[in-house]
């Protein structure tokens, strides 16, 4: 599997990371090196093996579906780059 610059651009887009076009060939090459390393996994016979979902044999615990720590709007907004009138502010999303 070889990654070309179009694929590298598509992955960058999916990851929401801006990559300048002149950087794409180097990025594609890095991906190819890493994926080349990962390709070794194809040598392993995984027939009938379950993919691991939990490394410890325990069921994921559940809690009551209730508010536990509500009513702290100020704390939640305290670190926001742009908070206005009790909301997170972002550029216009809907035209």
């Amino acid at each position: 599997m070889s990654i070309d610059t179009d694929t590298a651009a598509r992955v960058a887009k999916l990851a929401r990371i801006k990559v300048e076009p002149d950087q794409l060939p180097a990025l594609a090459e890095e991906f190819n090196n890493i994926l080349g390393f990962i390709e070794q996994l194809n040598e392993v016979d995984v027939e009938g093996v379950e993919p691991m979902t939990s490394v410890t044999p325990q069921r994921l615990k559940r809690r009551e579906d209730v508010v536990t720590e509500g009513d702290q709007q100020d704390k939640i907004l305290a670190n926001a780059p742009d908070a206005r009138e009790g909301f997170f502010a972002v550029p216009k999303v809907v035209e």
Partner: protein, 495 residues
């Protein structure tokens, strides 16, 4: 009396309890050591005011006779831990200015036991790295040098600041986290002791997430006993982490008898890999002899899927990272890029993440995005998770044959020079974790113990891997190894 910052946790505890030393004096000694160690770049956010307040409270508690082991002990905290009101930015520009409104469970446990926080410690950005060179704060520097050569060496990573701070006696102990070797590798490179406990022993709540199925917190200390004391406080069952396990935490220090007669130690043949320096092989053999001399039975074992651990890790860890790090979008906390006229929300995300994340973090997010993308999920991600099942099964079979612990080298080399790997392929850097990463994939406890010096005068470590939930027994074997190795060297002070 020796300089107070050079004490071990156990020694300091005894002096604090007997009233011979106050936490205030101990804390001041550490704060002045921190002030004098700017060249190591280990502490990146210092909190002397908090430290002195906590020390005063600890002294009152000690006087009242209600003092847990860590009461009054000055520690450093890895920047990955959220600490209330104190910058916690995972050594990343994307979390610049972030001050959590809450405390991580592990640091809360430490503070409840009276521990003192000196400040936050340098690390690789989002714990992604093995040399502390991906940090937004710049490199942390190893206090150890190659003889009289003044080349700056890596303290390892990702918990490089923690390892440097403990090795240089800036603090009595430090917290680390370990996703693929990030406690054990830096400990090995700095002559310190560190344990990654069984997955689920320590709560991950409030520790900035990298790869959630692999991340575990653990202590980094000067001795095995200190690791036992600190781990005791860090472990707890926590409803806020659904993978935290509801098991009683044994008394780790009480289990330290140093008697390992009758124990069976496995030596995995697959860990003898090509291109490993003779000195690593030699120290591994010496460690084997030491455990044999201490009365353990040594057996050869096979962990046949070892070779596939690193490639499986470099699918699973980036996949989980790409998901975990999706939250850094410039909306709720940290950095937001300046936008141009007409930029919408997508441009805001893309510019913010391009500016805020360093190169290695971007690369891993994108590799993770790729292996999870439609059409490749089965070929990469599911296959890697199947291989992970096989890696865990290898260990289960070894333990089923009666093996109590497994002895391996901790790292494939001693500390290397900062910048030496700059032009290397990323995969070359990933090989640093070749001996440690299997343990994370299998969720097992692993401890790194300093075992000797190489020809250049740099420390080398050995790793012991234990059965799940048997940290007490593992630490006891580590104590036997530590005692036999008799490692007492310290770096000569140049900073």
């Amino acid at each position: 009396m020796t300089e107070l910052n050079k004490l071990t946790i156990a020694e300091a505890r005894d002096l604090l309890r007997s009233g011979d030393v106050t936490s205030k004096a101990l804390t001041e000694a550490c704060l002045s050591a921190v002030e004098g160690a700017g060249a190591l770049n280990a502490f990146v956010h210092k909190t002397p005011e908090i430290a002195l307040q906590q020390a005063e409270a600890a002294d009152a508690r000690l006087k009242a006779g209600d003092a847990p082991a860590l009461c009054g002990i000055p520690l450093g905290i890895k920047d990955l831990y959220c600490t209330k009101g104190v910058p916690s930015q995972a050594a990343s520009n994307i979390l610049e200015g972030f001050k959590p409104e809450y405390e991580s469970t592990v640091t809360q446990n430490l503070f409840d036991d009276g521990a003192v926080m000196l400040g936050k410690l340098n690390m690789d950005e989002f714990a992604m790295g093995s040399s502390n060179e991906t940090s937004a704060y710049g490199n942390a520097v190893n206090p150890w040098r190659r003889g009289n050569d003044d080349t700056a060496l890596t303290p390892g990573g990702s918990s490089g600041g923690s390892a440097a701070a403990v090795a240089a006696d800036l603090c009595l102990g430090a917290t680390g986290t370990d996703t693929g070797g990030s406690i054990r590798q830096p400990c090995a490179l700095t002559g310190t002791v560190g344990i990654k406990p069984t997955y689920g022993r320590c709560s991950r709540w409030g520790i900035i997430a990298f790869a959630s199925s692999l991340d575990q917190a653990g202590p980094m200390t000067k001795t095995v006993r200190d690791s036992a004391i600190m781990l005791q406080s860090m472990c707890s069952h926590d409803a806020k982490d659904s993978t935290s396990t509801d098991l009683p935490v044994p008394d780790f220090e009480a289990a330290l008898t140093g008697d390992i007669r009758g124990k069976t130690i496995g030596i995995p043949r697959e860990y003898r890999i090509d291109g490993i320096p003779d000195e690593i092989d030699a120290i591994w053999k010496r460690g084997t002899e030491m455990l044999k001399d201490a009365g353990a039975k040594v057996v050869d074992i096979s962990l046949p899927h070892t070779k596939y651990a690193l490639p499986a890790y470099y699918v699973i860890a980036p996949a989980e990272a790409s998901s975990n790090l999706a939250r850094y979008d410039g909306v709720r906390y940290g950095h937001r890029a300046k936008l141009a006229q007409g930029d919408g929300i997508t441009e805001m995300y893309e510019k913010t993440r391009a500016e805020g994340f360093g190169h290695e973090v971007q690369r891993r997010i994108m590799v993770g995005t790729y292996v999870l993308s439609a059409g490749f999920y089965d070929a990469y991600y599911n296959r890697a998770r199947k291989v992970r099942t096989l890696i865990k099964r290898d260990f289960e079979e070894a333990f089923a044959q009666g093996v109590d612990a497994i002895l391996t080298p901790a790292t494939p080399s001693a500390a290397f020079g900062l910048g030496e790997m700059k032009d290397a392929d990323p995969v070359q850097m990933y090989l640093n974790d070749v001996f440690t990463v299997t343990v994370n994939l299998a969720g097992l406890p692993g401890v790194s113990v300093p075992a000797g010096l190489d020809k250049q005068g740099l420390p080398l470590g050995l790793q012991l891997i234990g059965r799940p939930w048997e940290e007490a027994d593992l630490l006891n074997t580590a104590l036997a190894l530590e005692t036999a190795a008799g490692f007492v060297d310290k770096p000569a002070k140049w900073w």
